[in-house]
């Protein structure tokens, strides 16, 4: 079954997530779609699968233009999708999960489980898949659950399989098993779309590769006709972004020092991580998301306890302290998720602005709030950070994404803490706000604060950092000094193990 996407455009508000993308998916091929986070890969496939409605463009199957607005329509047309987050009923068995919503109905309206069992066993064994159909899903490993999801698609006789980041949760052995299944599907003439950001996997299994960046399709062609280096260049873009103006200065004393820190992560331990940040420098932590950056940030800020290792902030050991005490010693934190962690959306701008302030006396009289003082402080942030909002008493939820983020950044930077931990500080905000937030972070650096910038946006890391650390698979894969930073070097560290990319480091 040939699927052709032509001119697909998807917009979320003012943001164009997918911009005029045309793509052909052919049977008997594994087609990898690669790109950074936010490049539009998943959105493009969600548009194909009927989960989001494209603003423009058409989908045609075997030459005829088709339209559907729900996944049911896509499934009926012969498409199947395995999502990054599994959608399974934990309490039910494998078989029950698979036949759910397309049960074979026997006489008198009962579900004919025996027939389903037979049919499923046959097609599973045909592809070398072994799984107990009567086991309860809640007891299965992550890899086995993924197999259940794949069987669900297989059972509905799909001709096109879309897998969204299928290996992000798998162990290497499980990954090998998955790839064996995919190869068997390919041999059976099915079309497979693999959304991934892992270059190694693309090189291993894909027949055709399409590179997306910033919602656009950068390149598409047979794997044999390209190279790993060319794909990496496509993923991370052309030249280096213009570096921001910075004051030449020697970094001062060590503000944050992390020694062999280990934290529990999803499916793998993160660490041991050793790093230090000095006053007056921005240390960037680059890496594809999901390589331990979130766990590192939570261990540093105290939101989750670390397993072992030491964290020293301004000369004080903090790994056993709670968030409040770490902040008092001198830490500010702008979290990645401004909706849930950065702000209380139901509270007013003033209430959000004054949360977590150390100088309690400035906004209270004894146990009582000094509302006018709170509003004054909020107004000063609104002016200082040029936040567009109705006023201090407007709800935080009424602001746009960029303004929300400016409020978070403003609140945290106004504390003038010696260390600023900024986690994806410009994720999903408009260009004007990005520029402004970058300027503020640079100003903090120039004023002698230590800034740890954790970001999956390589451009942001390159523009701001004095030193760049790259995280891969829970560890620091390498360090690159500002002067010698190149996309290829960082890209290599980001997408494969340090030993492969930089033999001299290992």
């Amino acid at each position: 079954m040939h699927v052709a996407l032509s001119g697909i455009t998807v917009r979320f508000g003012a943001l164009t997530a997918v911009d005029d993308v045309s793509l052909a998916i052919a049977p008997g091929e594994i087609h990898a779609i690669v790109g950074e986070n936010g490049a539009g890969k998943s959105t493009l496939m969600n548009a194909l699968f009927g989960l989001v409605e494209p603003a423009a463009g058409t989908v045609s199957i075997d030459g005829t233009v088709r339209r559907w607005t729900s996944p049911q329509g896509a499934i009926a047309a012969g498409l199947g999708m395995v999502h990054q987050h599994f959608m399974l009923q934990e309490e039910m068995t494998v078989l029950e999960n698979i036949v759910l919503c397309s049960e074979p109905v026997g006489r008198f309206g009962f579900v004919d489980f025996a027939a389903a069992h037979r049919r499923l066993k046959e097609s599973a064994e045909g592809h070398g898949i072994v799984i107990g159909l009567d086991r309860v899903v809640g007891l299965l490993s992550v890899g086995e659950r993924q197999v259940v999801e794949i069987l669900k698609v297989l059972y509905r006789e799909a001709e096109v399989f879309i897998l969204d980041e299928p290996t992000s949760v798998l162990t290497p052995q499980e990954k090998d098993r998955l790839f064996a299944i995919l190869k068997s599907f390919r041999a059976a003439g099915k079309a497979i779309v693999l959304i991934t950001h892992k270059l190694d996997e693309v090189m291993e299994i894909a027949d055709r590769v399409s590179v997306m960046r910033g919602g656009r399709l950068i390149a598409s062609g047979r794997l044999a006709e390209t190279s790993k280096e060319e794909i990496a260049r496509g993923i991370i873009g052309g030249e280096l972004p213009a570096a921001r103006q910075r004051r030449a200065s020697e970094p001062g004393e060590v503000v944050l020092s992390v020694d062999k820190l280990v934290a529990a992560g999803r499916g793998m331990a993160v660490g041991p991580v050793t790093l230090s940040v000095r006053a007056g420098e921005i240390v960037g932590i680059a890496g594809v998301s999901g390589n331990g950056q979130a766990e590192l940030a939570q261990a540093l800020t105290g939101l989750k306890p670390s397993t072992s290792g030491a964290i020293t902030l301004c000369g004080i050991r903090i790994e056993a302290l709670d968030v409040e005490r770490r902040r008092l010693i001198g830490m500010s934190y702008t979290p990645e998720d401004r909706q849930r962690v950065g702000l209380a959306l139901g509270a007013t701008v003033a209430e959000n602005a004054n949360a977590g302030r150390d100088d309690r006396a400035a906004f209270s009289h004894g146990p009582f709030l000094n509302r006018p003082a709170m509003a004054r402080f909020a107004r000063s942030l609104i002016e200082r950070y040029r936040i567009r909002v109705g006023g201090p008493s407007a709800r935080a939820s009424t602001m746009s994404g960029g303004n929300k983020q400016k409020l978070v950044v403003g609140r945290e930077l106004a504390r003038a803490a010696p260390l600023v931990v900024a986690e994806n500080p410009t994720w999903g905000v408009d260009i004007g706000a990005i520029d402004f937030i970058h300027g503020e972070l640079m100003r903090m650096r120039d004023e002698g604060h230590a800034v740890l910038l954790i970001s999956t946006e390589l451009d942001e890391i390159l523009a701001l950092s004095d030193r760049i650390l790259v995280m891969y698979a829970g560890r620091i894969a390498g360090e690159v000094a500002r002067g010698e930073a190149s996309r290829e070097r960082i890209g290599g560290l980001m997408t494969s193990r340090a030993v492969d990319a930089l033999p001299e480091v290992a």
Binding site: F12, G13, A14, L15, T301, L303, D322, V323, E324, R326, R327, L328, Y333, P335, D337, Q339, R340, V341, G342, L343, A344, L345, G346, A347, E351, A355, G356, R360, S364, P367, F368, L369, R371, S397, S400, G401, G402, K404, G428, V429
Partner: protein
């Protein structure tokens, strides 16, 4: 400014109007079913809730209002902080039992005994609430489950205490002895309404001021709106949770003490459980979406519904069962309003980052 007023109207007044209209429609249908005369039933309802000879029914409504509002305030403090403490009943019973026993056992000047008993009742309620908090924070029992399950042991501990060691055997009932008459809360002159309602008025004012104007109330509210946010900005979330639960439980304990010293003058088995004060309080809070100053009004509304239904039964011959169905219908509409509001707020959350 106008826009803000309009949204207030839409957010707080319109749902009330909708609920009232729907309830009226169903009530009239039910009355028609029961064959009760509309006019008589309605006047029976109004009279039963607000009238009576020298307003005696209104005073009954107010007496009930005091207890319901007290429980509602207790629950509201927890809910606003994001703590789903539904163990108000247990905390209420703990307060009632302790108040009665301390007053019976403690010798001394009556006023002192009264004050000590009330403080003991508040401490008992606070401790019982803290127990649920400790279960959640240190043993991982969800507060919703822990606080609910803790209702049962205290209820039967109370039953045991007044059925065996402290039973007023002579009365033939499962109840304690009377507390000394000098400790009874006085009535307002010329009425049968005790001054317990003043305690609740003070507690309500405290709760409103606390929620809007104190640092602690502000921090608790932030925790209620977004626990992740509260943790990330370094609020002492565990301490906040325990302190809020203690406050919430203390108010429930106070309500128990008021029921003892103002109304029953002893602890009677089931006297705090059967009238469903705690549960009515929860519903009263949910009805007004946890807006502090509306809670006393909402509590009064529920008390009036209950006494009014009783009045309708007395005067218009509406069967008790139909009156109970009417009460249930009212609660049902309230519940639907609440879940509708919750749905709308989760929609808003889901659509929230479309602007990013």
């Amino acid at each position: 400014m106008n826009l803000a007023r309009l949204s207030l109207l839409r957010g707080e007044l319109l749902p009330w109007l909708g609920v009232t209209v729907s309830i009226a429609v169903v009530l009239f249908a039910l009355m028609a079913l029961a064959g009760a005369p509309f006019g008589q039933a309605l006047s029976g309802f109004v009279d039963g809730a607000f009238g009576g000879r020298r307003f005696s029914y209104l005073l009954t409504t107010l007496s009930r209002t005091a207890l319901i509002v007290g429980m509602a305030i207790s629950v509201m403090l927890s809910f606003r902080a994001g703590l789903f403490n539904i163990g108000g009943e247990g905390q209420l019973v703990a307060g009632g039992v302790v108040a009665a026993l301390v007053a019976i056992l403690l010798p001394g000047p009556p006023l002192l005994v009264l004050l000590v008993s009330i403080f003991a009742a508040m401490a008992a309620g606070a401790l019982w609430a803290l127990l649920a908090g400790v279960l959640q924070l240190y043993l991982g029992v969800p507060l919703l489950v822990g606080s609910l399950l803790l209702n049962y042991p205290i209820r039967y501990i109370g039953s045991y205490l007044v059925a065996h060691p402290f039973r007023d055997v002579g009365s033939g009932m499962v109840q304690s002895h009377l507390v000394p008459q000098a400790t009874w809360l006085p009535y307002f002159p010329g009425t049968r309404l005790d001054i317990g309602i003043l305690f609740i008025a003070v507690a309500s004012i405290f709760a409103i001021v606390y929620s809007h104007a104190t640092v602690h109330g502000y921090h608790a509210r932030l925790n209620g709106l977004s626990p992740d946010f509260a943790r990330a900005v370094g609020l002492p979330v565990k301490r906040l949770a325990l302190q809020t639960l203690a406050m919430s439980g203390a108010i429930a304990g106070l309500v128990g003490a008021i029921a003892v010293f103002g109304i029953h003058h002893r602890y009677i088995d089931g006297m705090l459980v059967q009238p469903l004060y705690a549960w009515t309080g929860i519903i009263a809070v949910l009805l007004v979406g946890m807006v502090p100053w509306l809670v006393p009004l909402s509590g009064f509304f529920f008390a009036a519904i209950q006494t009014g239904a009783a009045g309708m039964e007395r005067t218009a011959g509406v069967p008790k069962e139909i009156a109970l169905v009417m009460q249930a219908v009212i609660i049902l509409f309230v519940a639907s309003r609440v879940s509708g509001a919750l749905l709308a707020s989760s929609d808003r959350k889901a659509g929230g980052d479309g602007d990013a």
